[in-house]
Each structure stands twice: as C-alpha cells, then as structure tokens.
C-alpha cells in the first residue's frame, strides 16, 4: 500500500501516473483517522484544505508543471505558522491562534507542490525531550505506546514512524529532530544554522533553532531539504549561501571516508544495548571502505550546562512577546496591566516553559549576566573549537543520537535534570551550529536505536551521502511497527 513506500518512491509513482495526489492524500488522511487516536501525533488535521491542494497538484502535473514533490502529502510541526490554520506550538497560550501568515518553510513547501495533511503535536514551545509537555497531551511511540516518542518534534516523528504521513517537518534546538527520529526509528536531519529560514517558525532559542526534514530515508530528506533551504531576507540569521542539489552526491562511494569517533560519546551513561547497535553500524561502515579514527571532543560534558543557560536566556526574551495584548491567551477581567501580563502568562504557559523562563530571566538579570550568559557563550566557543579541530582530521563524526532507547511515559517527567541529560549527544551540535542527522541503525529490546552523524558547516550533502550509502546496505529504516503496517 502507499504508506509502506518512501517519499522518493511515491514521487516516482506520481511521476509515472500510477497514483494521483488526491488518492495519496485521501489514503494518508484515512490512516490518520484510523490510527492517530492511539498516538496523538496530530494537533490539527487540515483535510479539506489538503484535498483541494491535492486536486490542484494533480492539475499542475497534468499540465506538465510538476516537480519531484508536487502532490506529496506531508505534516508540519505545529511550530510553523500556517496562514488561517491553528498554530498552537503545543501551548494553551496559542490554542486560539490562527496565524495571519505562512512561515517561509511552509511557503517554500507549498511552492514545491507539497500538500499539508495537518499540524503535528510537540513539546510546548519545543521545550522538552519526550513530548509530554504539550498542552494537547503526550504523544505515544508507535513501537510501544507506553513509551515516549522523544521530543520536541515527537508528533512529527511518531506520525512518520507509524506511516500516517510519508514525511514531516521538525525543528531542532538541542536535538529536537534527531532524538525523536532516533527513538521512533526514522531519519531526521538538522541542517547547518542559517541554512533554513527561521521566519515564521515560533522562536525558542534564536541562536540555536533550526528547521529540518524528518522522513523514512536519507534520500527523502535530500528531496525535502532541496525545497526547504535557501537564503531568506526575512530571517536576519539566514545565510547567503548557494543551495546545492542535495540528491547529487547520494551515490558517491564511501571509500576512504574518515569517520571520527569521539571517546566522550561512548563513555559513562551510554546504555549497553545502544552501544552494541552503534558499534555494529560502525563495523558496517568499515566494510564499506571507511577509515575509523578515534578523536576527542574534550568539552562535551559542558554542553548540557551551557545549553541550559543559553536556551533559557533566549527563550525568556523570545517568550516575552506573549503578553495577552495582541494575540494568544488573555486572562479574564484583569485588574490592571501588570495583572493582565502576569495572569495571561501564568495561565497560558505550562510548567516546563515557566521553569525555563524563570531560569533565563535569572541568568539575564542585573549582576548575573556575565556570570551566566557571557560565561556560557565563552564555553560555547570552546565546544565549537573542539569540532573545528576534529574536522581537520575527519570527514564526519559518528556516535549514538541518544544514550538509550525510548523511555516510558512518566518515567522522567518529574525530574527535569535527567530529562535534560537525554540530549547529551545532540546539544553540542546546535551550540556549534553544525548539521547533524539521526539514522535508524537497529533495535535494542525491540526499540529503535539511532546513529548520529555530524558533518562540518554546510556539508549536508556529505551527511546525506554517508547516510544513504548505509541505507543501501541495511534495511533498518524500512522497519514499520507491527500494528501500523
């Protein structure tokens, strides 16, 4: 059936006239209807709009104006503003928010002919690693519905893993594409900071946030990244750098590829079962002609502490725009302006978001700015320099995406610190602004394990090539959870 095909396969089928966009869209809308009650991966389903867009796409194709993504249905994370459609960011604060404009990513996807099936569930304002902080309830992992899908792009990961959508968009501030991709057994890519526009992507930590594709394969991610990437004058941190065709290098052989293994990614805290899966993947790469080089990223242990200064500081500043005045939640009968601000925000934000706003406000308050934010930015440079040195010796860096497979719902929700530590291998990549991927590499006790691949700035093509070659040798990325086949 259509849902067992990758996006690339569906694209070929559309091209050959074997299926229409309307048929595909109907099929995936039906799957969402039949299965999403078990997963809670969608916040909104935009069926009418999708079917209309699909009919338009079919017309475009019949007129001979189709690209590779014309008529392909996907889901958008609910962090992307979508004109006239609820954009909640997983929060009560924006439960009533219908965006007056489209995010650049959404606009670019539309221009490429992509159909939006709906908006996926996420941790509130992308703050979380388990999708439990959503105002709209926890998302479940299709491999075991008692387990979390990871976060914050948990709805995107869960829906793609259960084949309710061929692909989805996600965002990654400290691992929010890669960690859920790993925990749900799909392929996810966080591009270089500045590669994809942040315009209309509700800001969490502006110096770290980056959007990227979540799909079944590296080839699918390449097609999506082609459409998502590019300079955007509306995003002041967008970089003016040409977009290559990300599918061009997919088939390059890996002979002589230098893979760095940082010893810090394989130390204490790494689950044994996960380690075994990753070691096997590395052996596979050796067989493909890659050379393995031991490296060190000595400041890795500082990435979590640094992140929990930089991200909350930037979030406290970004989230100050939610004031109950211009849009979003407003409290009943405010007695004065201060009461309006305080109660609208107190009622609109959930616990984890409040916690981060408080940490950030404290770190930025008079007398503490140097000790926290400046200190964190200095360490951020040291963490980034570690990678610069490593990339003088190696082409890519590999390790686990997450220290363990998906944990159970509720297991870590009362302990923010242990939740934060589940992003230990992904956070440094955001701090350094590097592109990173998670690729399905096998299973530990029936739960998926993701291999993380990190490349140098703007080297997404190599990342995709390295992932694609692995996916030509293995079929972990093709595994579908039994009850969603």
């Amino acid at each position: 059936m259509y849902h067992t095909k990758t996006l690339s396969e569906l694209s070929a089928m559309l091209g050959a006239g074997e299926v229409t966009s309307v048929q595909l869209t109907e099929h995936f809308l039906q799957r969402i209807k039949d299965h999403d009650a078990q997963l809670n991966s969608f916040i909104s389903v935009t069926a009418d709009q999708a079917l209309k867009a699909a009919a338009d796409a079919d017309e475009k194709r019949n007129a001979g104006n189709a690209g590779p993504l014309t008529g392909i249905p996907i889901a958008h994370k609910d962090i992307f503003c979508t004109k006239g459609v609820k954009t909640s960011c997983g929060s009560k604060m924006l439960d009533n928010f219908e965006s007056p404009y489209d995010a650049t990513v959404v606009e670019k996807m539309q221009q490429a002919g992509v159909i939006m099936l709906g908006k996926t569930n996420m941790d509130e304002f992308a703050m979380g690693s388990s999708n439990e902080t959503s105002f709209f309830g926890a998302v479940k992992n299709p491999w075991n519905t008692n387990a979390v899908p990871g976060g914050s792009s948990g709805g995107s990961a869960s829906s793609v893993a259960a084949r309710l959508a061929p692909a989805a968009t996600g965002t990654d501030t400290g691992g929010s594409i890669r960690q859920p991709a790993s925990l749900c057994g799909i392929t996810g890519l966080k591009p270089t900071y500045g590669r994809v526009s942040r315009y209309g992507m509700i800001a969490f930590a502006s110096s770290l946030d980056q959007a990227g594709p979540m799909a079944q394969s590296a080839e699918d991610c390449a097609l999506l990244l082609n459409a998502m990437s590019g300079f955007d004058p509306k995003d002041s941190t967008s970089l003016e750098k040409e977009v290559p065709d990300y599918t061009a290098d997919l088939n390059k052989p890996l002979n002589g590829l230098k893979i760095g293994l940082p010893k810090e990614f394989f130390g204490e805290g790494l689950n044994k079962g996960t380690d075994e899966v990753i070691q096997k993947a590395i052996t596979e790469y050796k067989a493909m002609g890659a050379e393995i080089i031991d490296i060190s990223l000595p400041n890795t242990h500082l990435s979590v502490p640094v992140y929990y200064v930089v991200a909350p500081a930037e979030c406290s500043s970004n989230l100050s725009r939610f004031d109950g005045v211009r849009f979003g939640h407003r409290c009943e009968e405010p007695k004065d302006l201060e009461d309006l601000y305080k109660r609208s925000r107190g009622e609109g934000f959930g616990e984890e978001v409040k916690r981060r706003i408080l940490v950030g406000t404290y770190a930025l308050s008079a007398g503490y700015y140097d000790a926290y934010y400046i200190k964190a930015q200095q360490l951020r440079r040291m963490i980034s320099d570690d990678f610069t040195k490593a990339f003088e010796k190696v082409d890519v860096i590999m390790g686990p995406t997450s220290p363990e497979t998906a944990f159970n719902i509720g297991e870590k929700s009362d302990d923010p610190i242990s939740m934060y530590l589940s992003d230990i291998y992904t956070i440094a990549v955001n701090l350094a602004g590097l592109p990173g991927m998670s690729v399905p590499a096998g299973f530990d006790s029936k739960m998926p394990v993701g291999l993380q691949i990190i490349a140098n700035h703007f080297d997404e093509s190599r990342l995709l090539n390295v992932a694609h070659q692995y996916q030509q040798q293995t079929d972990w990325h093709k595994a579908i959870p039994e009850q969603f086949k």
Binding site: S236, V359, Q378, P416
Partner: protein, 95 residues
Amino acid sequence: MSLGPDNVKSIAHLARLEIEEKNIEEYAKSLSSILDLVEQMNAVDTTNVKPMAHPMDVSQRLRVDEVLEENQRETFQKIAPKTEDGLYLVPQVIE
C-alpha cells in the same frame, strides 16, 4: 547555587509571570537543581575566550530602510483578544 521562595517570587515578577503560591517551593527546588547543573561551567577558566553569539560569527545584516510590507491592521487585529477603533485595549494605565 540555591534559590529560596523569595528569590523565585522576585524572578517571577521580573518575568511578569504568575506562579501559584502552592507551587513556589517546587520551583525553588527545580530551579536550584538546574543552577547546580549550570555551576559546572565555573570549573573552566575562560579568560581571554571571546564569547560566541553566532555559530558562524556573522554580524547583523542591515538593509535599506524602506517600506516593504503593506499595513495589515485588520488582519492582525482579528486575532487580538480585545480591540476598539483599530486600537488594542488594555486595562487603564493612566488615571
């Protein structure tokens, strides 16, 4: 670093964020544990390290100051909680 209930109250005021009285203690505890985690930063000497604000160390791009957007007041005010005559309404600030 440990924060007490009074610290939490004053930070919450700075952030214009209402925290229910019954939750203050819990926030004091979790914020203190986050600050403990962050303390690890102090073990490293960062003298002469330049703070990194942007991963590619680029500076803010500027453009010519010209009007590019149309006024969309009605569209934007349609989603506002309370407006009147094209203005956003808030509780009276000046007596």
